[in-house]
Structures are given as C-alpha cells and as structure tokens.
Amino acid sequence: MKTLKITLATALLTSLCFSTNVNAQEAVKKDPMQVARGAKAWAQTCNRCHNIRAPKELTDEEWEVSTTHMRVRANLPGDMVKDIIAFLQASNNERIEK
C-alpha cells in the first residue's frame, strides 16, 4: 500500500512537471502580450530586493537559469517568471539584431 502511494505521488508530480513545461512553450506562441507583461513584472519585482540588472548582463540561457533561481528565492509565481524570461530574452535578441 505504501509503495502504491509513493508511485501515485511520483506519477502525479511527474505529470504536473510535464504539463507545466508544455504549457510554457504553448504560452509563448499564443500570447503576444507576454513580453509587455514581462517588462512590467521585471521592473516591479527585481528591485524588491536588489537593483535591476540590465538584460544584456546575461545570455538568454543564463537568464532562464537565473530567473528560475529568483522564482524560488523570492516566491515568484511561475507564470510571472515566464513573462520576465520572455522579456529579458526578447530584449537580448533586439540587441543582437541591431
């Protein structure tokens, strides 16, 4: 019985992880306002503890990891963090295009 509970709990956790991942990818495609929301959240949230860091300070990949760290440390909602990542990466890409 205990093994069954552990298995069910593991399956639930895994399915939640997968669903979150898929939802994130779909959201980027479907939501053109994500970058605008991310810019607002970036401006409001980061300076709750420290100075705002410019998008060009890190690469796209580093921002993804760094903001996930901040999601945990500052208890930021996951959807807000995805918006912030979208904004930071879009800002970095604008810089490259120039």
Binding site: L16, T20, C49, A54, E61, E62, V65, V72, P77, D79
Partner: protein, 453 residues
C-alpha cells in the same frame, strides 16, 4: 417676260449644280493634299516607332539576360541561405534548448574597519561566495552557495551556505529539499549578500549569537500566488532538523545540522503579501524542540541534559520603489525549559557543580532602515549614484529575566556609491551602545566594496 423668268428658273438649278460641283472639286483637291501630308507624318511616326520598338526589344533582351543572371545569383544565394539557416538552426537548437543549463553567480567583498578603543585597524579580506545554479529543463534546479573567507588568524574558512534541490512542481509550488537558507524574516534569505545589503553589515541580533536562524536541513514547500492584479501571496513552509543548544546559555546553534540529534523537527516559515505598489508585509513563525543529552566536557565537568521548547515569531515590512528602499523587521524568540522534574535536577546540578541545564532565555531584535538614491533629484553622473542610508536597531537577550552583556542599541549611518547596479562602494559609521555598563560602547568606521555577479 414669263419666258425670260421661266428660262431663269430652269437655268438656276443648273447653275447651282455647276457651282456645287466646281466647289467640291476644289475642296477635294485640298483634302487630298492634307491626307497625303498626314500619311507622310504617320509614315515618319511609324518609322520612329519601329526604331523605338527595336530599341525596346534590345532593352528587353538585355533585361531578360540580366534577370536570368540575377535569378541565377538568387538561386545561388538561396542555396547558401538554406545551408546557413540549416547550420544556424542546428546550432541554435543546441544553444537555446539544451536539457541542462547552468549559471555561475555569487558575490564578493573586501573592506576596512577601524574600531574605537584598543582594537587595531584592519583591512578585511571579506568574503567570496560563489553560487552555482544547475537547471534541468524547467523541472528541477540544483543550487548551492559556498562561503569562503579568511579568518582573523589567516586561515581560509570554507562553509556551505546552502545546497538544495528545487522541484518546480507547479507555477505556484516548488518543493525544496536539502540545506536551505532560513525562510524566517527577509534579511537572512534575501538581503544578507553584501551587494544587496544597503548597510555594510547585518543588523544587531542577525549574526552569530543572535535571533535570526541562518539555515536548516530539511524540506520546504514554497511559492507565490497572484490573488489579484495587484496582490501576490507568498509562502515558505519548512520542516527541518532544527536548532540546537549552544555552548553558552544565551546562545543557540541556528545553522542547519546535517543530522538531527533528537528526532524532534522544527516547523515554521513565512507568509507574506506583496502589493504592486512595492509594499510587502511578512509574518514568520518557527517552533522546535531542543534536547541535549548529558555530556562530559573537556575540562572534566559534566554538562547536564537539557530540554526546552523553542519558539520564534517575527514580522517584517518592506517598501522599495524608485529611489526608496525602506525596511523594518522584528524577531522574538525564546526557549522554555520542559519537564519540571528535569528542571529540579538541573537546579540541583547547578547548585552542586556551578553550571546548569536549560534556562528560559528570550531574544528580541528589531531594526528599521531607510536608503534613498539621489538619482531622483539630480542628473549629475556622480551624485545620481550616491545613496545615503541610515539604520537603527535594538537587540536584547534575557536569561531568566536578566539582561546580558551583548544587549545593545545600534546606529548605522552610511553613504553608498553605486558604480554599477551590482557594484557598490560603502562608507559608514556604526555606533554600538551596550545596555549594561560593564561593556564599553563602540564606534566603528567601516568601508566596503561589494560586487554581485
């Protein structure tokens, strides 16, 4: 007369016809001349058009040749673009979507300290705190921070600040397991790095021998939920091995222990509301059991067994918007000995051997800090980067209602210069007024350069 009139009538039409015919002949001759001219003109135009046509055909042929050349070049370029795109796609897939990603962060600082009285002035090696973040997709993150510093006698000290696995279960839930920074209050978990802290050091009661737990080993559920467009509810609920008794009666060991000495877990955490106006209010609570077995000390004395309940609660407030950074925090903890029989035994031990077991101890601390960046009132390239800061705090420790010597009031005045958003030079004066007269007050002159990366 009639005959004459008749003849005239008969001849009139004939004359008219003759006149008409002669006129028409004359007119037709003129028309023929005009048409010939027109025909000549048209012939000339046709010749011109023929020439133009020939020119246009030549031009067309040239354009067709050029178009063909361009098409060939376009085809070549298309081929090259396709091959470059193919290469770029393969590279970008490798670069942007690897399963595992990582980031090295952290901070370092150096400083100088001059303390009134007999203490020597010192350059401070400060700390080097590298922080490693490894992430697998958006499911799991492992993060760890080391603290490397030089001790007063020149030894290099290495400590593990935290080492935790974060399971990103849901947008609103992360499960943390391992050694984590204490979620109690706001200073220890979020503000203590020197490039974030507006003051040069921690407030009174937030270091060794203070109120604030530094870390714990266990499991934690945490996350944030947007309750409306303007409000976020955050929570951090943890269970861990908990604190232990310290060597001195007024001290607890509040660092995370790798093993639990009494199977009695600590439970607590922090809940907070964050408003979009940048106002945050948090409440913290921690409950643990403290148990230590009887122990033979190095000097041959016997340390009696100690048992106590440990409870901590606290509240914190923050407002950080634009040039303002305002924070206040209050923490109150106490140990209450458990087991009347044990207490009696402890008292007997104290009477017989001069040292005892658990005693009721109460720690209280609070601070308020205001920092203001001048960038709001000046565009001057240097002045705009200056940030005055002032902090006041109190720390009280009572053992059985008796105040002990490290109780103090502390003032900090400082000026920060932000060379970059993560690089700050701080200069400050700290005044420590100890409550008990046997301890001399101190004035400290401090400087620090901190870099967050």
């Amino acid at each position: 007369m009639y005959q004459i009139f008749k003849k005239r009538i008969l001849y009139a039409p004939l004359l008219t016809c003759a006149l008409v015919i002669s006129y028409s002949q004359a007119h037709s001759q003129e028309t023929t001349i005009d048409v010939d001219d027109k025909i000549d003109e048209l012939d000339d135009k046709i010749d011109e058009l023929e020439l133009l046509k020939k020119d246009l055909i030549g031009l067309k042929n040239n354009l067709e040749k050029k178009e063909e050349t361009i098409r060939d070049k376009e085809n070549k370029l298309d081929g090259e673009i396709r091959s470059i795109n193919s290469l770029r796609n393969s590279m970008s897939v490798r670069e942007s979507e690897p399963f595992s990603k990582w980031h090295l962060a952290g901070y370092a600082d150096i400083g100088f300290e001059s303390i009134s009285g007999d203490t020597n002035d010192s350059f401070l090696a400060g700390k080097f705190n590298p922080s490693f973040h490894f992430q697998f997709k958006d499911w799991i993150m492992f993060e760890s921070e080391l603290e490397i510093e030089t001790s007063n006698d020149g030894e290099t000290e290495l400590a593990l600040e935290y080492s935790q696995l974060n399971f990103l279960v849901h947008d609103n839930l992360t499960i943390v397991a391992g050694k984590f920074l204490s979620p109690i209050g706001q200073f220890q978990e979020r503000l203590h790095p020197s490039w974030i802290n507006r003051s040069i050091n921690g407030p009174a009661g937030f270091g060794h021998g203070g109120v604030q737990p530094s870390s714990d080993v266990g499991i934690m559920l945490r996350g944030g939920v947007s309750t409306s467009d303007d409000l976020i509810f955050t929570y951090s609920l943890a269970a861990g091995n908990g604190p232990r008794f310290g060597h001195d009666e007024d001290e607890l060991e509040l660092e995370g222990f790798g093993r639990d000495n009494d199977s009695n877990k600590s439970f607590g955490g922090r809940i907070a509301l964050v408003h979009s106006s940048s106002l945050e209010f948090g409440f913290s609570y921690l409950n643990a059991g403290l148990n230590a077995e009887e122990e033979l000390l190095e000097d041959g004395d016997l340390e009696p067994a100690k048992n106590a309940d440990y409870r901590l609660w606290g509240a914190d407030l923050a407002y950080s918007k634009g040039p303002w950074d305002i924070r206040a925090e209050y923490l109150n903890s106490k140990t209450t000995p458990t087991g009347m029989l044990l207490e009696e035994e402890v008292e007997e031990e104290e009477e017989e051997e001069g040292h005892g077991g658990a005693e009721p101890v109460n720690w209280k601390t609070w601070y308020a800090q205001i920092a203001y960046r001048l960038s709001e009132i000046t565009d001057h390239p240097i002045l705009a980067k200056i940030e005055p800061v002032v902090r006041y705090g109190q720390f009280r420790v009572r053992v059985e209602d008796t105040l002990i010597s490290n109780s103090e009031n502390r003032w900090n005045f400082g000026v920060n210069y932000w060379a970059a958003p993560t690089i700050v030079i701080k200069a400050g004066i700290e005044r420590r007024n100890y409550i008990l007269p046997e301890r001399t007050d101190e004035t400290r002159y401090l400087m620090q350069l901190a870099y967050g990366f």
